[in-house]
Symmetry: C2
Subunit: 425 residues, 2 copies
């Protein structure tokens, strides 16, 4: 296996010529494949198709009229049965849960909007001059986009194998302008990292200079194991309790990748104080979320164990897709010294670091041969990857055969871009 880094320029040119010949073959196939977003594939959608039958007009004959009971305005914080499922999922008391609409991103946006306009618990953020947010990176582009929309200055914090670099975090929070941090604590998007016990503990123990500092704890992949024995994440609220700092974190989750993306149920969990503050906005914002869809989920899953059982079906579909990509990476990219990747135990992404300075070029090459990747840089604040090396690979959406083809092409493009870059040097 030739290490590109120890090859001569002539050897590299020879190699590049061969790679380009193979690439042209791919181009002639006229592919249109998408590995850009963490979207469940059609096979996964069918896992939840029973959800569509969970409430029917026959429920009108139900003696207890459960469906009917939820067919009207009211119940601002969601229906109890659904709250119970999320409370058990997040391992928090029901009173600390609000069950909402179809999008947890929407909840995070609304929460940050509230912080901007009326404050997290004090002066509105908009009235405090330039404010900043910590963004462990690579991270989730939609988080960063909210900051950008509101003109919140983003500070990149390095992701390690145990979570955000806490030395950096502890330093940054001495600045009272730093108002919060985005975290995807389990199977982090895109690195797949689950925050270690020590990381969660250090986060809970934090004493930011800004006493209105808030952590957006986006637990999007809470039960999204790919391995039979998945990662374990500490319960952040249990940890916070030890330090009397429960108000620092708002947790979000949803069934977007449990039931149907875009037609699931989202929820948040927070301290008593934060629930009160959020409710004080919610009562003006809406008369209530879609309780019928909440109840549909309750009837389908019954309880949190039922929900977890369905996650096994997702795993049976997803895990082989990840294996296909990872096996191909090993076969085609190992030993060349030009790429590193993660072996996530859950979540929706493989983190691929290509040869520095070539991530954009890899995307471009893939695109020109019909395979869409998440744009290079998207995993960093302002879309700028300082080393131009990080790629977020999403194996879930394409069917297996297409996924294999796309991955083969991707590996080829990684090698082409590296060879080009090394020849340039």
């Amino acid at each position: 296996m030739p290490d590109y880094l120890s090859m001569t320029k002539d050897q590299l040119k020879q190699e590049l010529q061969e790679l380009m010949a193979a690439y042209k073959n791919y181009q002639s196939l006229g592919l249109t494949l998408d590995m850009s977003r963490g979207k469940p594939g059609v096979d996964q959608l069918s896992v939840s198709n029973g959800l569509l039958d969970a409430i029917t007009s026959h429920d009108w004959d139900d003696e207890n009229n459960h469906s009917l009971r939820y067919l009207n305005y009211g119940l601002l914080t969601g229906i109890d049965e659904c709250k119970e499922i999320f409370a058990n999922l997040l391992d928090v008391p029901m009173k600390n849960v609000i069950v909402c609409g179809n999008s947890s991103l929407n909840l995070m946006f609304d929460y940050l909007t509230q912080c901007m306009l009326t404050g997290s618990d004090g002066t509105p953020w908009k009235d405090q001059g330039e404010i900043k947010f910590l963004c462990p990176s690579p991270g989730y582009d939609r988080h960063f986009a909210i900051c950008e929309y509101y003109g919140i200055k983003m500070i990149t914090v390095h992701m390690t194998e145990t979570g955000p670099d806490m030395d950096e975090v502890e330093e940054y929070i001495k600045d009272p302008k730093v108002k919060g941090m985005f975290c995807v604590p389990k199977y982090s998007n895109p690195t797949g990292v689950t925050y270690s016990h020590e990381t969660v503990e250090r986060i809970a123990a934090m004493r930011p200079a800004a006493d209105d500092f808030r952590i957006i704890w986006d637990n999007a992949y809470i039960v999204h194991d790919l391995a039979s024995k998945g990662d374990k994440l500490d319960n952040i609220f249990e940890s916070l309790k030890k330090y009397g700092h429960e108000d620092m974190v708002i947790e979000f989750t949803s069934t977007s990748k449990i039931s149907f993306p875009g037609a699931g149920v989202a929820a948040l969990a927070a301290s008593d104080r934060n629930i009160e503050i959020i409710k004080s906005r919610l009562k003006y914002q809406t008369i209530g979320y879609d309780k019928l869809n909440q109840y549909r989920h309750v009837k389908f899953y019954k309880n949190v164990e039922g929900l977890k059982n369905y996650m096994r079906l997702h795993r049976n579909i997803l895990a082989p897709k990840f294996k296909i990509v990872l096996y191909e990476f090993e076969l085609k990219l190992s030993g060349y010294g030009i790429a590193k990747w993660t072996y996530p135990k859950g979540g929706y992404f493989i983190n691929l670091d290509v040869y520095p300075g070539t991530a954009k070029r890899v995307c471009e090459l893939c695109k020109k041969a019909g395979v869409t990747l998440t744009p290079a840089g998207a995993t960093f604040p302002y879309g700028i990857d300082p080393e131009d090396k990080n790629l977020r690979i999403a194996p879930s959406y394409p069917p297996v055969d297409e996924l294999l083809t796309a991955t083969k092409l991707l590996c080829l493009c990684v090698k082409i871009a590296a060879a080009e870059k090394l020849i340039e040097k």
Copy 2:
């Protein structure tokens, strides 16, 4: 029929004694009835129960996979088939419609939030010092509540039988601090008034001093006729076009009182420019609304004619309820000189003006006998009815027999409160 206003105090005292005896009888019944909100009753909910069967797991076998197509992220502005229904309903082009989630109130809240933080089309409202909103009153309490939440100063504009008093409006908008106005242009909440052609024309022709002035055109009762020949409202966007002022109005509506309250679909219509501005927020706020529920509505109603057919079924249930209340009012309150009420041709409310200074007392009396009314004052900004006389009567929710009982009690309380007040004088 004795006119209370021409009775002596002794006569009134005698009358009050008799009324109180009847009132005590009601109290002994232990009623718990609710005439407070414009909620459809159980009988109305069953009109739409087929909606629950509109999409089932059998759709997986559908060759065209329509349901599946909408079972994933994307389509920020809603699905085309649903957009078409709302475009036809609102009589605007599809490109000027965004189909959203379950609550039009939520859309209005989000829109005003956006105006506050990033501006309607210019400087953020929050950066313009004290700003004001025109609130035709009596009006909708949830509109006023949003203004109150954001500290927007509310200016009461009198409602006439043809809409807001446009002389007042035209005077107020000379103030650049006046940034907008709430309107329920058809079957207005609670007066039932539909804005006349002349009113709509004068609104469209307005040139507010604030060029970022926005009208929240809450067309909540757009097809909610109670009479076989309902009111006709001019298309505001057609009128605006004549004056080149399409950007001044954002229109909102929903199926909350067409399909299921809280589980329907909401939509907004706006000019090209405003649609662009709203989309520039939406793309950060959410990955998409619940398209499955949008498609469920499409499959159920097929098209706007289908939807209107269902409204006839609602009318068949609602119209008799309104008749019961109005007949009771005529029977029990006519000729006493102490009350006036409306005969709405649509919408969800009867506007009842009781003897000045007694609306709060009427609510209290009803409450103590087990009938909940919309709180007196709720129909005015800050919850303060300057004459303490306006009551919003919602006949839709109670079953017919309960409605009759509640109305009889209400009439009694109106008379008691008036007699008390006149004795005091």
